[in-house]
């Protein structure tokens, strides 16, 4: 399992920034995407279990069939900007907002 450990002085500089990436079916379980950028990325059927979406940019992000069921800090505003479908698994509190 490849891992890169950031030195302490660089840890605050890291942001999860992969705009326009095309990674259908990818696994992001447990990631911290605080202040990240996933705009216009195609993340169809991707898994986001336990992912922290605090202030993550999701405009145009394709999340069809993605599993967001245990994602945290995801807001209705972020979801409204993303592209989801009936197969997208949403956290309990957001299912209503998506309808």
């Amino acid at each position: 399992m490849p891992r890169i450990i950031l030195p302490p002085e660089d840890r605050d500089k890291f942001r999860f920034e992969i705009p326009r990436a095309r990674l259908p079916g990818a696994t992001f379980d447990g990631a911290n995407m605080t202040d990240g950028d996933l705009r216009d990325a195609n993340l169809t059927n991707a898994s986001f279990l336990g992912v922290n979406f605090l202030r993550t940019k999701l405009r145009g992000t394709i999340l069809k069939g993605a599993d967001l069921s245990t994602a945290i800090n995801l807001t209705p505003e972020q979801l409204a900007e993303a592209i989801i479908d009936e197969n997208t698994k949403l956290p309990e509190g957001l299912k209503h907002a998506a309808e």
């Binding site: 890169i4 950031l6 660089d10 992969i18 326009r20 095309r22 990674l23 696994t27 605080t34």
Partner: protein
């Protein structure tokens, strides 16, 4: 004072001066050896760093290779470089993110290839640190 006494005084001073000179010489040689050892260490460090930079650049180039095994090897080489040289970690992360952003649009949909899965794994793991 007779000649024997003078001779002893001269001999004793000669011993003291010789000793002092010997100590000075030993100290000077010790300093020179220490400087040389430090220079050798610095030189070795520079060579290791140049080698790491070369590996880093070559691996970045290999990320765009057509063959999956070459791309996967590049990902693992980049990881190895960051293990010895922490200052390459953030640049490596940024290169990998740029790779996902700029290159994956060329890939076909379907199962995620091993190199992309490995890069995603690296990013997920690296993301755990900012809040810790």
């Amino acid at each position: 004072m007779d000649a024997v006494a003078w001779s002893e005084i001269v001999r004793n001073w000669a011993i003291v001066l010789g000793g002092a000179l010997g100590l000075g010489l030993a100290f000077w040689r010790g300093m020179a050896a220490s400087r040389q050892a430090r220079a050798s260490r610095d030189q070795a460090q520079v060579q290791r760093r140049e080698h790491a930079t070369e590996l880093f650049n070559r691996a970045v180039e290999q990320l765009s290779d057509e063959r999956l095994e070459v791309r996967l090897s590049a990902v693992y080489t980049l990881e190895a470089v960051t293990r010895d040289f922490g200052e390459f970690s953030l640049p490596t992360i940024r290169v990998l993110q740029a790779y996902l952003t700029e290159r994956t649009s060329e890939h076909h949909e379907g199962e995620l290839s091993a190199d992309l899965a490995a890069i995603t794994e690296i990013l997920v793991h690296a993301s755990h640190h900012p809040s810790s």
